[in-house]
């Protein structure tokens, strides 16, 4: 890619865009444009081929049946794995996170194969759904401030040796495995249970994806005052939720 352009691919908004996932696309797009980048946004519907030449791919959350349909169609379409081979960045949320793993439990209660781009597999929890604000410390290697978000899932995601936890939970459920992990990542592929949307709550994460895509260590600063105000409020709310 050239230094001044960014191809941003939104995978399957017709199936995986239930919890404001469009926000992640809008925030990455906005913050890239604010840095003077020429952003090409490609929304790929599930009856279209996933392009292999994107720089950043975003995959959102969805309900149980659309999740199964998305997995079926993404398995048939080899675009996403090929893009990852090409070094593309993939950021996935909730249902999309589960699809990137080896397998998950679908709406019919059956094991459904994922894409295997992350060494994780997901099962369905027995207890109550994890619903509420979540606060987590990010893997220090990523150099990000704490993650804040909203989680709403019953899934449990088990991490294999091929991935690292994206974050460790301070408040909330995260991967649901009881070990305090949240999300997973390896190289340029990321998964998380955080909505909010996660990029609106954590613009540093959006910036990280842009930096990885441009292969740079820093970006020109942009005014993030409203994001910062929102972060402070939600981090305080999460701590309150914990003490309540």
């Amino acid at each position: 890619m050239s230094d001044s352009s960014l191809r941003l691919v939104w995978v399957y908004p017709d199936l995986l865009s239930t919890y404001g996932d469009r926000g992640n696309v809008l925030v990455v797009e906005r913050r890239a444009r604010q840095r003077g980048l020429d952003v090409t946004r490609i929304d790929v519907r599930s009856d279209q081929a996933v392009p292999t030449s994107g720089d950043i791919y975003l995959i959102g959350g969805g309900e149980d049946r659309p999740q199964r349909l998305a997995a079926e169609r993404l398995r048939m379409d080899s675009g996403l794995p090929r893009a990852v081979e090409n070094g593309a960045i993939v950021f996935s949320v909730c249902a999309g996170y589960q699809i990137l793993g080896h397998e998950f439990v679908n709406d019919l209660g059956q094991r459904e194969a994922g894409l295997g781009l992350l060494d994780v597999h997901s099962t369905r929890g027995e207890g109550a759904r994890n619903v509420g604000d979540i606060l987590a410390e990010v893997d220090p290697r990523l150099g990000l401030p704490p993650l804040t978000g909203f989680e709403n899932h019953q899934g449990i995601t088990h991490l294999g040796p091929g991935v690292a936890p994206l974050a460790s939970v301070q408040v909330g459920g995260g991967n649901g495995t009881g070990d305090g992990t949240e999300g997973a990542w390896r190289d340029t592929v990321f998964g998380t249970y955080l909505h909010g949307p996660v990029m609106a709550r954590n613009p540093a994460m959006a910036d990280l994806l842009i930096k990885l895509a441009l292969d740079v260590n820093a970006l020109p600063p942009v005014d993030s005052a409203w994001y910062d105000a929102l972060r402070s409020e939600r981090i305080a709310a999460a701590r309150e939720q914990q003490s309540a």
Binding site: G20, P66, A200
Partner: protein
Amino acid sequence: MPGTGSEAPAQGGRDTSLPARAKIAVTAGRVAAAVSRTAGRGSGSVIGGKVALRLDPDLLAKLAEHLDVVLVSATNGKTTTTRLIAEALRAAGPVVSNALGANMPAGITAALAGGSDSRFGVIEVDEKYLAGVARDTRPKAIALLNLSRDQLDRAAETRMLAERWREGLGDTEAVVIANADDPLVTWAASSCRRVVWVAAGQSWKEDAWSCPACGGVMQRPGDDWFCGACGFRRPQPHWALSGDHVYDPQGVPWPIRLQLPGRANLANAATSAAVAAVFGVAPQTALERMQSVTAVAGRYDVVSYEGREVRLLLAKNPAGWLETFSLIDGPPTPVILSVNALDADGTDTSWLWDVDYERLVGHPVFVMGQRKLDLAVRLEVAGLHFQVVDSLAEAVRMAPQGRIEAIANYTAFQQLRRAVAG
């Protein structure tokens, strides 16, 4: 509000025809409602209904037995449409209705237990309770307006709601009046025996891209829609909204003149005319009567506050916001946005990102409510100019001249109403 005077009175001939157990239940419910009112806990209608239902679980069925019942359900527009249908049917006889939007079984029971010599019971029903209420009340007509995402942190999946409607209404004797432009509603209604299809339009399409029948990708050329995989498609409508006219099954256009604003209310009126026709009320009569409806439970109310005119608009979910943006006055009309995330609103604010706030470009925008910072980030990313304020009074003081549009979600809207009431 016009029409309120003709609501069923609290005492009527109905009680004498009720079995003893039901009569005691109705009385106990009234006592509980009175206690609740005295204690200052609102109108008391829901608690009254709860007590009554506990004493006699069949009470709703008994109360509905002598009525021609019409049920109205949807994600958006059910309170207003219930009101429009009630007004239209008053041309044919007295109506009892849960006009204030208490739309779960207890609230419905309380409204019907108001007792009356009514011929019609026009009942708004929460989407999740439709199948059960339809079983209990044996309606003559059921109006299904739309289904879309709403409070996903606690509500069922949108498609699952359609599935539950489909299963629950499969053997209903009622005439089902359904929106042919909404694939989820069409899926829900298409197993019913008697369906009147209304082309009532659908602005929000994001919940209907996958076929409710087979999961295939929906094709949506123009106003049409069909599934390329299984052939499930838009039915031929009997009634159709076109601009501000509704075409009846004979192809005759009838003008819709409402005091209520917006395309969504034209759609609600078109559906209401189709419902009225089931009971022999002609479109002209029905539509003329609907013209008397102004504010519904405070929605669309234009109030005077701090010397300014403020129009209060309720928008609870992305589809509702989309319809609301299409009815507000153009720039430079000032717009106040207020968003809360209390339990009744849904506690996840992610949905803000499904709303096209970009459409407010050119308006002076003021942001308030419990989650004003979520809104601020949303508007910043939309590239809008806006100001964050702490109260309605502050927003109104800062707003440039002209009537102000105030758009709020559920509990934020209740707070605005209290604020303007002083």
